[in-house]
C-alpha cells in the first residue's frame, strides 16, 4: 500500500543504518516515547541493529499502561450496573483492575461492548434510550479530539444517556518528569508523530531548549524511526538541542487547529496520576465544567476506591525506562499476554507485550 511499503523498504533501511553508523561516535541513549513505535522497533529488531553501545529506552507512551488503577476499578464498578452499556476500545478489556478485568465482568453477564470509535458509543446511546451508555475515554492527545467530538455530538443532538469516564494524559509533562529524574539516562527523544499531528510541536520547543535535549517528531514506519534516530544522533554529535520534524508528510508545527479547538472546548488541563509513575502536575485532561453532565464519574458516584497492584509487577520501572521486561521475575512465566499481571503486558502498545510478541528472552524461561 502506498506510504506503507515505501517506508518499509529494506534497502533504504540499510542505507539509514549505514549513515547512522558513520555518524555516531558515542553510545547515545534515545527514548521513543510512543508504544506504537516501541512495537515497530522491537518487532523489526531496529534496537539490535544500532551502532555498538547505542541504546533505545522504551517510554511511557502506552495509554492502556498508564491509565490509573482507580479508573480501571471505577470502570468495573460502573460496568457492573444493570442499566449500563459499558463501551471501550478493545485493548482496555484485559487490563487487570484490583479484582478482575472487563472481560471477566462481560463473561459474568455485564453488557460490555468494544467500539472502534467513541462516535459508535454515542450511536449505541441513541439506539438504546432506556439504557445508560458509558465510554471509557482514555489515551493521549491523539484520542482526545475523538472523545471531544463524541461529547459535542451527544450535546448537539440531545443524547442525555451518554457519559464518559475520562482519564486523558498529556505527553510533554511526562517528558519533563523523566528529564527531572536524578537517574535519567535519556539524551534525546523521538516524539510520537500522531500526538504532534494533533498538537503540533510548539510545547516541545521550551523543553528541548531548557534541558538541552534533541526532540525529533517521528513517524511509525521502520524508515521513519531510523531517520528519526539518525536526526537525533546528528544533533547529539554536533551539540545541538532543538525540535526537528522527521514526519513532514503528516505533521505541521501548529498541529491540527480544528482538533485542538474541540479539545480546548470540551476539556481542561488537570493534575493526573499515571499508573506506575505517580501524579504529574498538569499532565491530564478532565471534562470542562460546562460538560459536567457527561461525566460518568459524577453520574454514577463511584466514590473512594481501594486499589491494590500485583506485588510481582515492575510496570512502573518499565514505564520510566529504568528496567527491561526481561529483568522481571514474572515475565513470560506468571505474566504473559494471556495472563497479564500488569498493563504493559496487555496492550498492543505495551513494552512487555512487544518483547513477548517478539519472543525476546523467552528461551531462557
Amino acid at each position: 500500500m502506498k506510504h506503507l511499503d515505501e517506508y518499509r523498504d529494506p534497502a533504504l533501511a540499510r542505507r539509514l543504518l549505514g549513515e547512522l553508523r558513520a555518524t555516531a561516535t558515542r553510545p547515545w541513549t534515545v527514548m521513543e516515547v510512543c508504544g506504537g513505535q516501541t512495537h515497530t522497533i522491537v518487532r523489526q529488531g531496529i534496537d539490535e541493529l544500532l551502532p555498538a553501545g547505542m541504546r533505545m529506552i522504551h517510554g511511557p507512551g502506552c495509554p492502556v499502561c498508564v491509565t490509573p488503577l482507580e479508573i480501571i476499578d471505577k470502570a468495573l464498578a460502573i460496568a457492573a450496573r444493570p442499566e449500563v452499556i459499558f463501551t471501550s476500545y478493545g485493548d482496555m478489556l484485559r487490563v487487570p483492575g484490583t479484582s478482575g478485568d472487563l472481560v471477566g465482568l462481560k463473561a459474568r453477564g455485564a453488557d460490555v461492548r468494544v467500539v472502534y470509535s467513541p462516535l459508535d458509543a454515542v450511536r449505541i446511546a441513541r439506539e438504546n434510550p432506556e439504557r445508560e451508555v458509558v465510554f471509557l475515554a482514555v489515551g493521549f492527545e491523539t484520542t482526545a479530539p475523538a472523545n471531544a467530538m463524541a461529547v459535542l455530538d451527544a450535546a448537539k443532538t440531545g443524547v442525555t444517556n451518554f457519559s464518559v469516564l475520562v482519564s486523558h494524559v498529556l505527553v510533554p509533562p511526562a517528558i519533563t518528569t523523566l528529564l527531572e529524574a536524578p537517574d535519567n539516562q535519556v539524551r534525546a527523544f523521538l516524539a510520537a508523530g500522531h500526538v504532534c499531528a494533533v498538537m503540533g510541536w510548539t510545547e516541545y520547543e521550551p523543553i528541548a531548549d531548557h534541558y538541552g535535549v534533541p526532540i525529533v517528531v517521528t513517524g511509525f514506519e521502520p524508515l521513519d524511526l531510523l531517520e528519526g534516530i539518525l536526526m537525533a544522533v546528528r544533533q547529539l554529535e554536533t551539540g545541538r538541542a532543538v525540535v526537528e520534524n522527521q514526519y513532514v508528510r503528516a505533521v505541521r508545527r501548529t498541529g491540527n487547529t480544528a482538533a485542538r479547538d474541540a479539545v480546548a472546548q470540551v476539556f481542561r488541563v488537570t493534575d493526573r496520576k499515571w499508573r506506575g509513575i505517580g501524579e504529574i502536575p498538569a499532565s491530564g485532561l478532565a471534562l470542562d465544567p460546562a460538560f459536567a453532565g457527561f461525566d460518568a464519574d459524577r453520574r454514577f458516584a463511584t466514590g473512594d476506591i481501594v486499589t491494590r497492584e500485583s506485588p510481582a509487577c515492575i510496570a512502573g520501572e518499565i514505564l520510566r525506562g529504568t528496567r527491561l521486561p526481561t529483568d522481571c521475575q514474572a515475565y513470560g512465566t506468571a505474566c504473559t499476554p494471556r495472563t497479564p499481571l500488569g498493563a504493559p503486558m496487555v496492550s498492543s502498545e505495551g513494552t512487555c507485550a512487544a518483547f513477548h510478541n517478539a519472543g525476546r528472552g523467552l528461551e531462557l524461561r
Binding site: 470509535s117 503528516a250 491540527n256
Partner: protein
Amino acid sequence: MSVEEDFPRGGIVDFDGLRRPVCLAYTPEAAVGDHVIVHVGFAISVVDEEEAARTLRVLRAMPDAIETELGS
C-alpha cells in the same frame, strides 16, 4: 477516501481494501482521493504527497555503505 455530508462530517476511507466510515470533522481540507492518517475513527492529518516523495528521495540518495557488511 470519499466524503459524506452530515454532522460530524464523515467519509469512507479505504485501508488497503478494508473500507470503513471515518469522521472528517478535523480535516475539513480533505478531498476525495487524499491519503489521511486515521486514529480511532478520526482523520487527524492529510498526508502531504510532495513531502512524502521528498523524504523518500533524500533516503534514496544515501550511500548503501553496509551492503557488503550484511552480505546482501
